[in-house]
């Protein structure tokens, strides 16, 4: 593997050709300060101890790996789920936010801002802000404010201000634009807590490190359960943080690694190289480089780009990226609920949908498959009920 995996402080911030730091000069001082601070903190045993004690005592880690006996039988494979849905706040987003909130405190900043799509990152950020006594503002596309109303309420209950964004496609992409614009004006006392493995260096690397606890735990849990690595490791990809956090532990194993994107937002699968939101990566864009709108049932994956590490893993062939459509996702949402008693968020339902579709073909019978269930489906129940007519 390339040195970026061994060297989390790599100065250039590149994963192969992807990554970098394409930010306006007014933000340069802040991202460099963040890089230095993160690099030092990550090496600091006291920081690690505090980070892990909060993950354990507050966020509910470690999360279990669940063997899905019913679906395994249906599909002729062995299916295991890494249960990020069981964390406090209901998704993996809390892992990253705890890390960044600790850094915010180290920087002496009093306020934290975030973008959110599904609202899970916004809820996690609002939660950490409440815990650490930070002021919190969350930018959310107006379309998402509507389809994730429950999470908007949760954020406000937690004391955060939620700002609906009405520019562009009014979804995650535009929420990021608005958060960046706001950050320029208040960078002195405010940290921008990016919610995925994207943005300018050091964010893709830093968020990956804060999420790698998912894969590190899962790998040893799989070894305990089956004595070896799984044959497949599967996760959904929006910006790609739950996937990167999962994959990192398995990059040097023999497991096949699969990221699942929404058909309407397949930045790795159908995108082209570009530079947007501070990073060189893969994006959906038109023939002149104007960014196109993603189209997905899932607010958390409704993003026309992807974190640079995924573009890199695809380019070297270490991971493959597949797409599933909204219908398959709705089906997976219901199948996992009925067969296993687990209501998944629509985002990880993408990963489940790919497994349902490929078991017995791309995934040979008898394979041992680990899927990261990145979050729970409560937030999506109302939206799905509307689509299914109260099912």
């Amino acid at each position: 593997m390339s040195s970026v995996f061994a060297n989390p402080g790599s100065a250039s911030g590149y994963f192969g050709d992807f990554g970098g730091r394409f930010v306006p000069e007014p933000l340069m001082a802040a991202v460099r300060e963040l890089e230095d601070l993160f690099t030092a903190a990550w090496e600091d045993p006291a920081f690690q101890a505090e980070y892990h004690s909060i993950l354990t005592g507050y966020a509910g880690r470690p999360t279990p790996v669940t063997y899905c006996a019913n679906l395994s039988q249906d599909l002729g494979i062995e299916l295991y789920l890494k249960r990020e849905d069981l964390t406090h706040t209901g998704s993996h987003k809390i892992n990253n936010v705890v890390g960044q909130a600790l850094l915010t405190r180290r920087m002496g900043k009093s306020r934290i801002i975030a973008e959110t799509g599904a609202g899970q990152h916004g809820v996690a950020t609002a939660t950490a802000a409440a815990l650490f006594g930070l002021k919190c503002t969350v930018y959310m596309g107006a379309v998402d404010v509507k389809r994730q109303a429950l999470n908007v309420f949760r954020m406000r209950l937690l004391g955060a201000e939620v700002v609906p964004v009405n520019s562009g496609s009014r979804t995650l992409k535009d929420a990021i634009n608005e958060a960046m614009r706001e950050w320029v004006a208040c960078v002195e006392d405010t940290h921008y807590c990016i919610g995925s493995v994207m943005g300018p260096h050091p964010y893709p690397l830093m968020v990956r490190q804060f999420q790698r606890v998912i894969g590190d735990e899962a790998r040893s849990q799989m070894h305990e359960a089956i004595g070896t690595d799984p044959d497949f490791v599967v996760a959904c990809v929006g910006g790609g943080s739950n996937a990167a956090g999962t994959f990192t532990a398995f990059l040097e194993s023999d497991a096949a690694i699969v990221g699942v994107e929404p058909a309407g937002g397949a930045a790795v699968g159908r995108g082209t190289p570009g530079v947007v939101h501070g990073m060189r990566s893969q994006f959906l864009q038109d023939e002149f480089g104007q960014v196109e709108e993603a189209q997905s049932i899932s607010a958390g994956l409704d993003y026309p780009g992807v974190g640079p590490e995924h573009a890199y893993l695809a380019s070297i062939g270490r991971a493959r990226y597949e797409a599933v459509d909204d219908a398959a996702v709705l089906n997976a949402f219901q199948v996992l609920s009925r067969r296993e008693g687990i209501i998944p968020a629509l985002e990880p339902a993408h990963a489940i949908a790919w497994v349902l579709a490929e078991a017995g073909s791309t995934i040979p019978r008898g394979s041992r498959v680990l899927v990261t269930l990145s979050g729970r489906g409560d937030k999506d129940s109302e939206q799905v009920a509307e689509i299914l007519g109260g099912a």
């Binding site: 306006p24 007014p26 340069m28 320029v184 082209t272 947007v276 994006f283 480089g289 104007q290």
Partner: protein, 257 residues
């Protein structure tokens, strides 16, 4: 027309430099607007090429970019329209770097050359990432302008000024582009810092919105860039005459009349 030589010559002649910004394709008569801006006394003109995700732009230029994109403007079409007229002052194409990378250096430079554009500004292409383009552009006689912010250290400002070509763009405040009532104190701070580290022309933009602001900056900088205030006039239907009047008032303020 070489950008830096022109600006240095004007400065040597005792003039303060005026660089207004116009969003390409905002209206049917936008090229007439550019001509009017030149006639009103601009020393160079920034041509904003609309991008879908302008992260350092505030509401005025965001809306103008959106309007231009909806009118079907592309980098190639905007630059081709400019190529059909002779403006008489250097033009600087300002946009976000995805459009450059997407086109590729060769193709992008080709469009610039055909339009007679003398310089480029990419606000999201900081010094560390700018070098390959800056060198390529220099080979074609195109100046790549770098930015310095209020949060840029003196040491870094010196290094940026050394690598910048055409002029150094001092960002006047911590924030996005937009019309401001008052000139930020940081604008004069950036101007002074830059003047102390470089001989290259120093222009201050972002939050420079009125003849008064221009006059306030004149003792400290070589000139000003005025964007949102002009674009707002154009978006409100001011047309070439509105642009001419406003730029004339900026010119007079800088000339001390």
């Amino acid at each position: 027309m070489a950008l830096e030589a022109r600006l240095r010559a004007r400065r040597a002649g005792g003039a303060k430099l005026l660089v207004p910004y116009v969003t390409a394709g905002l209206t049917d008569d936008w090229v007439r607007v550019v001509e009017a801006v030149a006639a009103a006394g601009a020393d160079a003109i920034e041509i904003g090429i609309p991008f879908s995700d302008p992260i350092i732009d505030g509401p005025v230029i965001q809306a103008a970019s959106q309007t231009a994109l909806e009118r079907g403007v592309t980098p190639a079409s905007a630059l081709a329209e400019l190529g059909e007229v002779s403006i008489g002052v250097p033009l600087v194409a300002m946009t976000y770097c995805n459009l450059l990378f997407h086109a590729g250096f060769q193709r992008y430079a080709g469009w610039l050359e055909e339009a007679g554009v003398a310089g480029t500004i990419f606000p999201d292409l900081p010094k560390e990432e700018a070098r390959p383009w800056a060198e390529f552009a220099a080979g074609k006689g195109i100046a790549n302008v770098l930015l310095v912010a209020p949060t840029t250290s003196e040491e870094r400002a010196r290094a940026i000024a050394a690598e910048s070509r055409g002029f150094v763009y001092g960002v006047g405040l911590m924030g996005v582009t937009g019309v401001r009532e008052q000139l930020a104190a940081s604008a004069i701070g950036v101007a002074k810092r830059l003047k102390s580290v470089t001989d290259r022309p120093v222009l201050i933009g972002v939050g420079v919105s009125s003849p008064l602001h221009a006059r306030q900056l004149a003792p400290h900088a070589d000139g000003v860039v005025v964007g949102s205030a002009l674009v707002k006039i154009l978006a409100d239907g001011g047309g070439p005459e509105g642009a001419y009047d406003f730029v004339s008032s900026l010119r007079q303020a800088l000339d001390g009349q």
